[in-house]
């Protein structure tokens, strides 16, 4: 099987197997170091600003605390038999060959320390079970390799006991934070959200101006006053969407899609300036308290605006928190309309709108695109949609097929519950990890290349802000254009024709008529 050739003539070239297992290369990614957080941001999140003097004791105690507070952590550390089924499942291992990126080896970085201090065998026979002391080197190694896990859970699907490396990696980051070793990207963003309500630090005024600009664009395109309402009291629906939807491409196009769907469905909706962020980076750092605080804003915004429903925009990890955790962290939502799921995904909303015949669709308007769909990892393995098991796979495909004529699936072992992470999830979407991100995207890019060769696929749709940003950044490294990644609701926006909207066809007919 051929593999990626970065030095091929005319840019990197690759054909072959997205699941190809590399030879082990020890230490290949040992130098990958994401920037450390500023002390002020660690403190904003309730952590020590800098490495504590007694960090070792604190870290060891924290392991015990987590084992007592979280069954998953304890059982996963105990139950692994090192069978090896997960070893070839991580996209970072497939992309880098560094053995510490094999899920079980990543877990072992922490498991070895847990065994040393919390198990009989590790206390008295450390050499027998690979137990090791907590040292500065171990701490640094954690920082390096737990920031090479995007918490995508692909390994958990493969494990006979469902051991989820994401849980271990979140716990490790929680321990690191609790001794004063935070990561800049995540902690700075959470601190920003606590001040402004979103990860970008957009203040309400700037947000309003942005939304007004987008309304103008929409009116120019359609001739219709489609609104993007902000802080509207008494609206039916509160839209919680990743703040990237307000400024990044192709995210914005997705936001315009939601606006058109809401408009065509005739519902009243609003964005909140207080909770203007769907993403919850508290999950990335494994901090229940921070995750709860971020989620709490959504509850308060919904109460304050008096909405009846909450709908989430296209955002992967956000939807995991929304679907699986929100009710726990900020519930019960007894003040909302119980006839709808709380919260609901925009894909569920659009799917229902299609079923109810509320959308006038011209599929041919997407004929220039030959599409495939990338299942975002946290949507695929950490959430669901709709009324049936597996709705998180079926609904986006249903919507895409409802608005596009040309759709092809990528290889079976790289989609649905076996999907790859984009390479930038879980708090790794930062420029200081660009090398890792490019390598981690390799399995997905290889699978995409296959369908490009086999079916002429030109574009890949996704429903995650991180996927979209990551792909638009790394796709050029693999011979694609930045805009070859699209929002699913971008396709919807293209195909939906609003009532009274003048289309090119109408214009052409009008010009033909004397």
């Amino acid at each position: 099987m051929a593999s990626l050739d970065m030095d091929a003539k005319g840019g990197p070239k690759f054909v072959g197997d997205p699941l190809k297992i590399p030879q082990i290369e020890c230490g290949a990614m040992a130098d990958s170091k994401t920037f450390a957080a500023y002390p002020v941001h660690n403190e904003d999140l309730g952590f020590p600003g800098e490495l504590l003097d007694n960090w070792k004791e604190v870290a060891i105690a924290k392991i015990g605390e987590l084992a007592d507070k979280n069954r998953a952590f304890k059982v996963y550390l105990d139950a692994c038999v090192k069978c090896g089924a997960c070893t070839d499942k991580c996209h970072y291992f497939l992309g880098t060959g560094d053995p510490k990126n094999m899920p079980v080896a990543r877990q072992d970085l922490l498991r070895s320390v847990y065994r040393r201090y919390y198990t009989f065998a590790g206390k008295y026979f450390p050499w027998l079970v690979g137990a090791r002391d907590m040292t500065r080197e171990v701490l640094d190694e954690w920082y390096t390799y737990y920031h090479q896990c995007s918490q995508c859970r692909r390994c958990s699907v493969a494990c006979p006991y469902g051991i989820d490396t994401a849980e271990i990696s979140m716990a490790a980051r929680d321990i690191l934070d609790s001794v004063g070793v935070g990561q800049k990207y995540c902690n700075e963003i959470i601190a920003k959200l606590k001040k402004t309500g979103n990860n970008l630090g957009l203040n309400p005024k700037a947000l309003r101006a942005t939304l007004e600009d987008l309304e103008e664009d929409l009116e120019e395109e359609t001739g219709i006053a489609v609104k993007l309402p902000l802080d509207v009291q008494g609206a039916d629906i509160l839209l919680i969407t990743p703040s990237a939807d307000f400024f990044a491409e192709p995210h914005i196009e997705g936001l315009l899609g939601y606006a058109k769907v809401f408009h065509a469905s005739g519902v009243s909706w609003t964005i909140s300036s207080y909770a203007s962020e769907a993403a919850n980076f508290g999950m990335f750092i494994g901090s229940y308290e921070n995750m709860r605080e971020v989620s709490w804003r959504i509850r308060q915004a919904a109460k304050d605006l008096g909405v009846k429903r909450i709908v989430f925009g296209e955002c992967g990890h956000a939807w995991r928190v929304g679907y699986s955790f929100l009710n726990t962290l900020a519930g019960p939502f007894d003040f909302l309309d119980q006839n709808y799921p709380i919260p609901q995904h925009i894909m569920e909303f659009t799917s229902d709108a299609i079923d109810d015949g509320l959308l006038k669709i011209d599929k041919s308007r997407n004929d220039e695109f030959v599409m495939t769909y990338h299942d975002s990892c946290n949507v695929a393995r950490g959430s669901s949609m709709g009324r049936k098991q597996g709705g998180q796979f079926d609904l986006p495909r249903k919507v895409i097929k409802a608005v596009c004529n040309h759709f092809y699936e990528m290889e079976r072992d790289t989609i649905r519950e076996n999907t790859f992470c984009c390479g930038g999830g879980g708090g790794l979407l930062t420029d200081d990890l660009m090398d890792l991100r490019i390598k981690g995207a390799k399995p997905r890019m290889t699978a995409l290349q296959q369908v490009t060769e086999d079916h002429g696929v030109t574009h890949m749709a996704a429903i995650c802000a991180i996927c979209k940003t990551q792909f638009s950044k790394v796709m050029p490294k693999y011979g694609y254009e930045m805009d070859n990644v699209m929002s699913v609701h971008q396709l919807v926006a293209n195909a939906v024709i609003l009532d009274g909207q003048e289309t090119e066809a109408d214009v052409a007919t009008a010009e033909d008529t004397p």
Partner: protein
């Protein structure tokens, strides 16, 4: 003397195994699960979860999907061992149950399946680069211990017959707290000694994966977070966060 040593060892090992596993299981059961972390796609009902877990423990479904070789060897080993264990019931019963009689021939040959599975797993652990990387000494020793048990057992059956009547009498005696005479057969002593070791290390080793799989939240939870609020005790006791939105300012 030898009989007494083995008898005492068996009593201690049984105590350690039962108390150790029960304590650990109680500890697992009492440890809270703060969040819904089910790995989806997952059943939306409790019944569905039972079905999922049934497939996991009887078919090793996830392992089958992720690695056919490990599945094959693991399955041969585990289900070979299950049959062998069931066959061994006869040594602990004065009047042997009918179904234990029926499975005797299968149980005997299952011993070979068990050895084949173990050999396959050991081979992979030694020669498959990735698995060798993640293996600690205990991982090899565990396989060797099982191989020792299975190998010595097969030896007694097919090579060097042990006085099985005497062994059964010894075992039946132990169950009534009467220490009789154990045959002085070196292979039997290896066999029973390894079994005792296995029982002793069970609760403090990775063998706890057997009860552990039933406490793995990613598989045992029901996918119904939106319909039913999941909250752990310690999380419910966290101090309330402030209600309301702090004064809104735009600018």
């Amino acid at each position: 003397m030898v009989s007494t040593v083995y008898a005492v060892l068996f009593y201690i090992a049984t105590l350690v195994l039962v108390v150790g596993v029960v304590m650990r299981v109680i500890n697992y059961a009492r440890t809270p699960v703060p969040l819904k972390i089910v790995v989806s796609p997952a059943p939306r009902t409790r019944k569905g979860v039972w079905f999922r877990m049934f497939r996991e423990v009887t078919l090793f479904e996830s392992l089958f999907k992720s690695n056919k070789w490990i599945w094959l060897f693991g399955y041969l080993f585990h289900f070979g061992m299950l049959l062998v264990l069931l066959r061994h019931f006869r040594y602990f019963q004065r009047d042997v149950w009918g179904w234990v009689e029926i499975i005797q021939p299968f149980g005997i040959y299952a011993g070979f399946a068990m050895v084949a599975g173990l050999a396959g797993l050991l081979f992979r652990r030694i020669f498959q680069q990735r698995i060798r990387y993640i293996s600690d000494p205990s991982d090899y020793l565990m396989l060797l211990l099982f191989l020792g048990i299975a190998g010595s057992g097969l030896m007694m059956k097919f090579v060097n017959h042990v006085d099985i009547i005497a062994v059964k009498a010894f075992m039946l005696g132990l169950m009534r707290f009467q220490i009789g005479e154990m045959p002085r057969d070196p292979i039997l002593m290896i066999h029973l000694g390894s079994v005792v070791s296995l029982m002793l290390i069970f609760p403090i080793s990775k063998l706890m994966h057997a009860p552990g799989v039933f406490f793995s939240p990613s598989r045992t939870q029901v996918d119904n977070a939106r319909e039913k609020r999941h909250i752990s005790k310690w999380a419910a006791e966290l101090p309330d966060l402030p209600e309301g939105i702090p004064e809104k300012k735009e600018g």
